[in-house]
Point group: C2
Chain length 361, copies 2
């Protein structure tokens, strides 16, 4: 068995500690004589798994008591519909920072008015637009942001002003990568498949007083209240994905030592890579330095053929899924929690070698 | 490691062959150097997994070319909303055979008129009501059934008449347990967690000409067209659940030899158990014999305390999740594909011993 360094943007690499534990428990988890996949979601064994998972998330993120944690399906994409269906009013001020806010916009518009308060689209989303309170609409109910933009490699370092309005944020690609002050948000959501576990699980962290406001005609499966009232088990939840998420959270607590440590490691990984790119003659990162993501690092050589060669040779060297998104081109290294420092060092070593072999100053 | 016989109604037992393969591939699947959980859904490795899974399902169920296979999330429960949202008209003739048709009814009513054309509720759902064509409403668009009723242990042996109307069927607890003539249906759906794989995956088999009829305001994630147009990968699908489903289908093809063989084994298992129950003085099954399910077998002693004792002692003997649903009481043995004949034999041996120890004629 040879493991590779997997820089995929999501689904993404998971800690080997998690995978080894999952493999060892595949036929008999917790002395139950069965796999977690085979457990009834109504069993005490699974109840313990979901309770522990939720408690770990609450502890790790320091989630205040006035927030509810919901485990859902359908990906972040289904939240683009559930959010307007569940919040009492649907007029939104949206800051457009890439493909995921554009997709959110398209779905939100089916339910209410969307005002694009700022956008960096004209610069291919290479920065986070800074807005002021007076830029917001008078009649908007919430401000919508995507906090880390996976494709473009940008991240909010400060939340936008939103006085008198709710703040709704997509944290899919930065959740658990650093400390987050949950109390600054009204609704956080994240697909699990980048930093929390496998695809097929979506986590929503929502202020309790925002639950139960949906119209009575709202489908039960799209109503946050259904999940809040039934401990996320109105119907069968994605049990195995919740189990793996629980293992990832266990790894964060027991092997890493919490989000403060994780944040330090992640900052170190990002600094190493950006410093190398900025010093290099061959590679460049298109993002405004102050808005650079800590988890997704796009870079280009400026020569499409050379980019293609890079991706091919990197794969041969065990550095995979490094190709950039088609809208940005070049390469992208996603360096989520489970990517070890050694992986980033291996990438930089490969980049150096490739530069030496392919670039004549 | 001691494996138990797990009679759970779902999530349910999986073939050991599947679990062993999944465990062995957990850190390095298909020589990719990574787990399937870590694979990008846009990678050629995962494309191969989803393509193979779909092809196996088409082959096993002999699904005609004019049907589309969709991989979704949200469980069968989300289909109660997606079906009326996607079919052009929403008036439905529903046959009420238990909790799952009642839940479907409640959600369908949010979108259109629901006529309960027949119900066995007054007899605690112990039979399948037989209807005639003239019982159907003049203005209904489709007939809705739950083909196998997990809780009550009933199953349609013949489909209801539905001339001039579509037939929509929930096959969650009987799909792949026998040969199915897909051409008799217009839309089949099933949560995977009983007979196909882990929770978190829902399969829809739908006539292609019924796709694309939804209103343009329909949320993208609730529109079958989104999935049909994007090979079920508009957004990240539940990749690992699809992989495990693929392994279950591989097991059915290569280890069992297809659905004809599976059906024979399942009929044998059910006959053994029903014959024993019918001959026993202690146990009885409340269902009309002609409507008995092949996959879910409820039985009672008629004495609640004795039922409780049975469940407790069975567990000590490695026969678990045998407790009946609270609305039926007693016990229930779910004997899906992955429950081997030996498991049913072990159950019967335990039932005999328990009867000898606890019943005086």
């Amino acid at each position: 068995m040879t493991r590779v360094y997997n820089f995929s943007a999501g689904p993404a690499c998971l800690p080997e500690w998690v995978l080894k534990k999952a493999a060892s428990e595949m036929l008999d988890a917790h002395n139950s004589g069965m796999s977690v996949m085979e457990m009834s979601h109504r069993s005490s064994e699974f109840q313990d798994i979901i309770d522990t998972c939720k408690a770990r998330l609450k502890r790790l993120m320091n989630i205040p008591d006035e927030y509810e944690i919901l485990f859902l399906q359908g990906g972040a994409s289904l939240q683009f519909t559930m959010i307007p269906l569940n919040l009492e009013k649907h007029n939104v001020d949206l800051i457009n920072t890439g493909q995921w806010t554009k997709k959110a916009l398209k779905e939100h518009e089916k339910f209410g008015k969307v005002n694009v308060v700022a956008s960096s689209e004209e610069d291919n989303f290479t920065y986070i637009p800074k807005i002021k309170q007076e830029d917001l609409s008078e009649d908007s109910d919430y401000v919508y942001i995507c906090e880390n933009n996976t494709i473009y490699g940008t991240k909010y370092k400060e939340l936008p002003p939103h006085e008198g309005k709710l703040l709704v944020a997509d944290l899919s690609s930065c959740i658990l990568s650093e400390r987050t002050d949950v109390s600054k948000y009204d609704l956080i959501f994240a697909g699990a498949q980048k930093n929390m576990g496998p695809a097929g699980l979506t986590v929503v962290i929502i202020k309790k007083d925002l639950i139960g406001l949906a119209d009575e005609k709202t489908p039960s499966m799209l109503n946050y209240k259904t999940y809040a009232d039934n401990d996320s088990m109105f119907n069968t939840p994605p049990t195995y994905a919740i189990y793996i998420c629980g293992l990832v959270l266990e790894w964060l607590e027991t092997q890493i030592g919490g989000l403060e440590n994780m944040e330090k490691i992640n900052r170190q990984k990002a600094k190493l890579l950006y410093d190398y790119i900025d010093a290099s003659k061959l590679y460049s990162n298109p993002v405004v330095p102050e808005d650079r993501s800590y988890t997704n690092v796009p870079f280009v050589t400026g020569d499409k053929d050379l980019d293609t060669k890079f991706v091919k040779e990197a794969k041969e060297a065990g550095i995979v899924n490094i190709k950039g998104h088609r809208t940005v081109g070049g390469m992208r290294a996603s360096i989520y929690n489970a990517m070890p420092l050694e992986g980033v060092e291996a990438l930089i070593a490969f980049m150096k070698k490739f530069e030496e072999e392919n670039y004549n100053a």
